[in-house]
């Protein structure tokens, strides 16, 4: 089992990955409360970025509506908890099929009627927007006035009900990020992964090579949606409040895709590195601007935008391919 996991990885890569994991595992013991919340955010974006990357980076279909799957996961688990006291892990068993079904429905519509490229992206925005407006009027989830989970001061962490301190969420997300990384690597090296890349590169040529492109695109959208919904469940139990206007908003979907784009679309480590770079950048800008006494509203956003622009111009393939070369990791797996 372990042999298969590490197959194709150079010793150097393994050492660095182990070191990184050790640092992340130990981080809560040294990090301040503030730093811990930043790390939680980073792990959250690393995870959803990984899920989004399956659709875009592997199968070549741009989704600009992944907030839909986050929201469906969040609302399903939260509503089941609020109404019936059903815990998040059981709720997850309902949330995942719902998000997967939504993904399958959008995928079916798009792929059956050969909606591709930007039009596919627009379709994904449309469904996220439907959900945003629809959930505003859904009484069961308290509509636009918001769904709230009961909050109390927890002296100990209840993992089964996801009630507890940030450090618990940190470790849950860390496990999710590691699992997503391993899962995506296994997928990419499997038959499905090869077919996804072929579809991404040239769909017509893929079909001529015998690939049922409809089927493999459907698999991509369903896996990506299902994975993303798990992040939604965590989101709901971490923030304890859900508003359609926030959860399903297009800016949420954009946030999800920035990490993998900056890190390197289609790479396995890109979404993780991208999340660190972006969230780290945003937080250090906040701190930095505060330190030098610039308090103009919007200044942070402007600097953030400029930095992003610079990163994308300097490293159009993402930061990870560059870092990878720097670290001398030339193993063949992306």
């Amino acid at each position: 089992m372990l042999g298969r996991l590490t197959e194709g990885l150079s010793a150097r890569t393994l050492i660095l990955l182990t070191l990184l994991l050790a640092v992340l595992l130990a981080a809560p013991f040294f990090a301040s409360d503030y730093l811990l919340t930043v790390l939680i955010l980073i792990l959250y974006f690393a995870y959803v970025g990984q899920a989004w990357n399956i659709m875009m980076g592997f199968a070549g279909h741009l989704s600009l509506g992944h907030a839909l799957y986050v929201g469906l996961g969040a609302y399903t688990a939260a509503a089941l908890y609020v109404h019936y006291g059903i815990g998040p892990w059981i709720g997850l068993l309902v949330a995942i099929p719902i998000a997967a079904l939504a993904g399958a429905f959008i995928g079916y519509l798009a792929f059956r009627f050969k909606v591709g490229g930007v039009y596919f992206a627009i379709l994904t925005i449309a469904f996220a927007e439907f959900a945003r407006v629809g959930f505003d009027h859904l009484a069961w989830t308290k509509g636009s006035s918001g769904l709230f989970l009961p909050v109390a001061q927890y002296s100990k962490n209840d993992l089964w009900h996801l009630r507890g301190q940030p450090v618990m969420f940190y470790y849950v997300l860390l496990v999710a990020v590691v699992a997503a990384f391993i899962g995506c690597r296994a997928l990419l090296q499997s038959r499905i992964g090869y077919f996804w890349l072929a579809i991404r590169e040239d769909e017509e040529a893929a079909r001529s090579a015998g690939i049922d492109t409809f089927r493999y695109k459907m698999i991509a959208v369903v896996i990506s949606a299902a994975m993303t919904s798990f992040a939604g469940v965590i989101y709901a139990f971490y923030y304890n409040n859900l508003f359609p206007e926030q959860v399903f908003h297009i800016s949420r979907s954009i946030e999800i895709i920035l990490g993998p784009i900056v890190g390197g679309v289609g790479t396995l480590f890109g979404p993780i590195l991208g999340a660190f770079v972006l969230t780290g950048l945003a937080e250090s800008l906040t701190e930095g601007l505060h330190a030098i006494g610039i308090d103009i509203p919007g200044a942070k956003q402007v600097f953030y935008g400029i930095c992003l622009l610079f990163v994308i111009m300097a490293l159009p393939d993402g930061v990870w391919p560059w870092v990878k070369r720097r670290l001398g990791l030339s193993e063949r797996a992306p």
Binding site: Q189, E201, D202, S208
Partner: protein, 241 residues
Amino acid sequence: MSALLSVEGVSKRFRGLLAVDKVSFEVPEGGIYAVIGPNGAGKTTLFNMIAGVHSPDGGAITFGGERIDGLPPNEICQRGIGRTFQIVRPFPALSVEDNVIVGALMKRRDVTAARAHAHEVMRRLDLYDKRAQRASSMTLPDRKRLEVARALATDPKLLLLDEVMAGLRPTETDRIVGILRDINKESGLTILLIEHVMRAVMALAQHIVVLHHGANIAEGAPQAVVRDKAVIDSYLGAEAI
């Protein structure tokens, strides 16, 4: 020899243009057949109908005794027809090896087995030493051989080659001709090619079908076809002989 592929009265119309007009011919198992004709004669359209990209407006295409016209390209490939594209389309960001593995995975579920098969195919086509190279960074002759390799890796019974020699130097052409002839001899692979390079056609084909304005104007053994008056007038020109 029984016919592996039979095309019977196949037509295709694009708006007002009759691209292929009731074309019929048969390719026996193990044969190497060529389709020639001037630009716009409907050769690629004919190929696209056999490969499932277009479905014919009339007529029937039978492969191994089963009707295949109207089936999608992936199903046609699964039934044993591999194809290359006139304008090469390897998967650009993938390595040569991964390109061929994609083809090999069609009939194999296991990536390791597919890789082993891909290595075999790459050796055949002199691509093995370049297997780590990205397809997009290859030269045209290499990319053309890569197209053939990817199609061959799907283990076809019939290989459709759409102008794989076009734009190649004579030595490159001879190289591909040699490879194809060896494969045909050893494994009995049936080949149907579209080709303008008469040097390759004459060296390879046992039988030639000539298309002009979508219609089959001549057919037969290469030596006879190139002396056919209609073929000389419409396509080859007098100096070809």
